[in-house]
Symmetry: C2
Subunit: 298 residues, 2 copies
Amino acid sequence: MTFTARLSHAAGVINPRLHKLLTPGEHFGPPKRLANAMQYAVLNGGKRFRPFLVLESARLFGVSAEQAQDTACALELVHSYSLIHDDLPAMDDDDMRRGQPTVHKAYDEAMAILAGDALLTLAFEVLGSPQCHPSAVVRSRLVLELAQAAGWAGMVGGQVLDLAEEKAEKVPRLGVIQRIQSMKTGALLEFACAAGPILGNAGEQAEGHLREYGQAIGLAYQISDDLLDLKGDAELVGKATRKDQAAGKATVIARIGLEKTLRLLDDLEAAAIEALKPFGDAAETLREAARFISRRER
Amino acid sequence: MTFTARLSHAAGVINPRLHKLLTPGEHFGPPKRLANAMQYAVLNGGKRFRPFLVLESARLFGVSAEQAQDTACALELVHSYSLIHDDLPAMDDDDMRRGQPTVHKAYDEAMAILAGDALLTLAFEVLGSPQCHPSAVVRSRLVLELAQAAGWAGMVGGQVLDLAEEKAEKVPRLGVIQRIQSMKTGALLEFACAAGPILGNAGEQAEGHLREYGQAIGLAYQISDDLLDLKGDAELVGKATRKDQAAGKATVIARIGLEKTLRLLDDLEAAAIEALKPFGDAAETLREAARFISRRER
C-alpha cells in the first residue's frame, strides 16, 4: 500500500472506534449537549495523521491495528482538545476549523472549554482501560508518556511560549522557534511514533530510533504547515490562512527565509529516513510519510 | 488525633509534595510563567480536604501516607484545575478565590485556560509515574478511576448541567439537583475515598463501603457549601458569597427549604457513618469528617 492508501486505511480503522468511544453508555451518562460538542469537535473529517503514525509504528513491532487503535484514539482526543482550546477567543480566536464553525462558535465558549477538558480527560480514561492494552505496565507507561508530551513541558508549554512570542516585537532566534514548535507540535508526533515500540515492548533502542524519526517529522510538519499558510489558499485549507504573518507568528521562514527553510526541510526528511534504517523495508510507509510531509507544499 | 489535627497533618504532608511536583526540572522544563500560574493556583492555602480523604482511606488499609501522597496530590491538581476553569469569565466569572485574585485576573484568560489544562495533564503524569505506586495495575486503575470521576460523566458533565440549570427558569427537581451535585462535587470525593482500598488492594467489598461513604459525604459537602453561601460572610469564605441566589443556582435548599435540607444532612451523616461500620475504631477520623461536614454551618 502507498502512503496515502495507508493513511486513509488508518482513518477507516480509527473513525469508527472514535465514534464508539464518544458514544456514551446508557446509564448515568454525560449530558447530551456535552457529548454532542465533543463529537462535533472530533468526528469532523480530520486526516488522522497522528493515529496513522501510531498504527504504523505499532505495525513495525508486530502490534495489530486492533491492539494499537485505542492508543491512537487517545492521542487524537488530545489533539482535538488542543484545537478547541487554541481556537478560543482568549487564544488564537479562530471562527473556522476544517471548513466548519469552531466549537465556541457552534456552541458557546463555556461549552468549548468544557468539551476540551472532557476530551483530554477521556484520553486518559481510554489509556487507563484494560481494553487499551492487556499489560498494565504498558498502559501506565502510555499514560505517563502522553501526559508528558501534552503537558506543561510539552504541548501546553509550547502554546504558552507561542502566545508570548506573538506579543514580542521581533522574530526570535531559530533555536527558540524550533523549541516552541518541538513542544507545541513535535511532542505529540514524537509520542505517536514512540507508541509503537511501547505497545510492542520493543525496548529502548527501537524506541530511540522512532523518537528520532518523530522529532524530525515533527519539525518538518510545522514548517510545511507554515509554507501552506504562506501560499495561503483559504478554500483548500478550510481555515483562515495567511494569518501567521498578520499575527506576527514566530515561523522558521520569517527567521531564515524561504530558501534556507526548504533546505532545512530536506535535511529533516533525510534525518527522518536515516532514523528508520534499522527497520528495512517494513518501515517504507513511514519513509513515505516523511517524504510526503516535506514535499506536500512545493 | 482529632479530625482537625488530622486534616492539618494531611496538609502538612501534601503541601511540600505539591510544591515539589510543581517545581519543574532543570532541563527543557515548562515556561516559567506557566509554572508560576500553576503554583499560584494550587499553593494557595487550600484545606486539602480531598487529599486528606485519600490519606485517611489509605490508612484504613495499611497504606502509608508516603505511598498515598502522589494519588492525593493528583486529585488536588484536578480539583485546582477545575476551580481555575470554573472561575473563567465564560463560566462562573469569579474575580476572587480564597481571598486572592483568580488566575485569569492575576495572569490573563489564555494563561488561566492553559494552566488548568496543564494541571489536569500533570495529574495523570503523576499517576502514571512509577513513583506513585509500585504496581502498574494499581496506577492504571487510579488513572481510569480519576478520569471517570473528572470527565464527561463526572465533574465536567456536572458543570455542564449546572450551567444549563442556571439559565433555566425554574428550580429543578431534587433528583436532578442531586444528580448534578453528585457529578460535579461528589465524583471526586468518591474517588478520594475509593483511592484508599485501590492503593491497598483491599478488594471490591471494602471499596464498595468507602464509595458509599464518599457518596454520602459528597452530597453533604455540597449542601453545607450551599448553607455557607446562604449565611454568606464574604470575609470568612474569601470569595463572593450569596452568589447562588443571584445566579439562580439549583440548590437543595431552594428546592426543599431549610428545614428539610437540615434533616437530609442528618440522614447523609448517618449513612456515611453506617458505611464505615465494618472498619471499627480505625475509621474514627473519617467518622469525624462526616460529622464535621454536616455540622460546620449550624
